[in-house]
Symmetry: none
Subunit: 206 residues, 2 copies
DNA sequence: TTTCTTCTCCACGAAAAAGGGGATTTTTCA
DNA sequence: TGAAAAATCCCCTTTTTCGTGGAGAAGAAA
């Protein structure tokens, strides 16, 4: 029996996976968690063989969680899980040590196959995920990776604060805020604050 | 028995909902579809009382589908379904005739309650959805009324264009654009472009 | 240990926006 | 037809942002 742990903040998805796996011979769902730290705690008490990790979690993102899980549970195999929208995360997830990547439109068979493959130490990629990786880097503008400070500054900019006001609030120099602002503009590939706020909101950073 | 139909492109979510509802007395899942047109076809052959509609579908978005469903199946009650990220869709979904809105982190009880409420012709909103709607309504009773020119300028500002670029595009003087910009700032009650774009997007103007 | 990233800070100049006025011509519509 | 509203245009000053560059310290990663 392959002990499988599910990490996703949507009970519907957890239920769906449980349901899909309940009639399999070799896979057993031994637990689930709605966020990263809860998952680590649960896995300490009750180790598993394979973890299904959603990319979007309330506390940590999937990549960070993947790294942390691999530190603490070296034997645990990790499968990334996401919707088609977060394709750009695939390579980063693999880099972080994941054993594979599934889209949420996977069916039960694929899910079972992926878990078995991961358990045996192989890599499993869903068809779409494999194609995304195989395709050269002509990708559409994928989401920039912002540092926590940058996200903080971005949020305050969107609130309507000036560099000086932000500097005062964060206890740093206005020049530093300006640097963050410039880095944000560069990362988003836009030329002014207006476009940055729009992009930031569309991408869910704000 | 309330006949319920599920429209979501992720089998995992569909399975999860089925699973959550399988032990209820009054709710029965009579079908599911992965996209909007498949849903319409299936509902023609096999009518349902309530439809759970995901906001993100491969062909139509939830709002469009909601309108189409209400045209063809006037008796069908529709519940919107999404993750926390697409909050801004709530009001548009309601406008399109939905009987309620659920987040995917809902549990089985909430799901059942929502379906029953919709079936009885009541409106059901998850706590977060209700708060999202209540907030702008209470805090800002009067959303600024923008003229069509102002909306046009606002959209271009959000695209990252400067006054001069907008002026060129609209064949008017940069000074005029600046006037519109100032009027927009005044109407929104904000002090710079960043905050204006943010509120503009939150209010659905952009 | 070295390298990389992040966060911090800085200089200088140009461009753009914000704040404060005002004014004229079209549209809209009661 | 006449008032309101919208759209257009203008001036001046100050503030803020943008573009281009560089650089040091701390900590994590390799």
């Amino acid at each position: 029996m392959i002990k499988t742990f599910i990490i996703d903040d949507h009970p519907m998805v957890i239920e769906g996976i449980r349901h899909m796996l309940q009639n399999t011979d070799n896979v057993q769902v031994t637990g689930s968690a709605a966020d990263g730290y809860a998952a680590i705690d649960a896995l300490k008490a009750n180790p598993a063989d394979v973890a299904l990790v959603d990319i979007n979690l309330p506390d940590l993102d999937g990549i960070e969680l993947c790294k942390k899980l691999r530190e603490r549970f070296p034997k645990l195999k990790i499968l990334g899980l996401s919707t088609f929208k977060e394709r750009s995360y695939i390579t980063r997830m693999i880099d972080a040590g994941a054993s594979g990547y599934l889209l949420k439109n996977a069916n039960g068979e694929e899910l079972e196959e992926a878990i078995k493959a991961a358990y045996k130490g192989r890599m499993y990629l869903s068809m779409e995920a494999a194609q995304t990786i195989a395709r050269p880097a002509v990708q559409q503008p994928d989401l920039p990776l912002l540092t926590s400070r940058e996200k903080e500054v971005l949020a305050l900019i969107a609130e309507g604060m000036t560099n000086n006001e932000i500097a005062e609030k964060l206890f740093i120099s206005p020049l530093t805020v300006d640097s963050h602002r410039k880095n944000l503009l560069a990362k988003f590939g836009v030329k002014n604050t207006a476009a940055m706020v729009k992009y930031g909101m569309e991408s869910g950073f704000i």
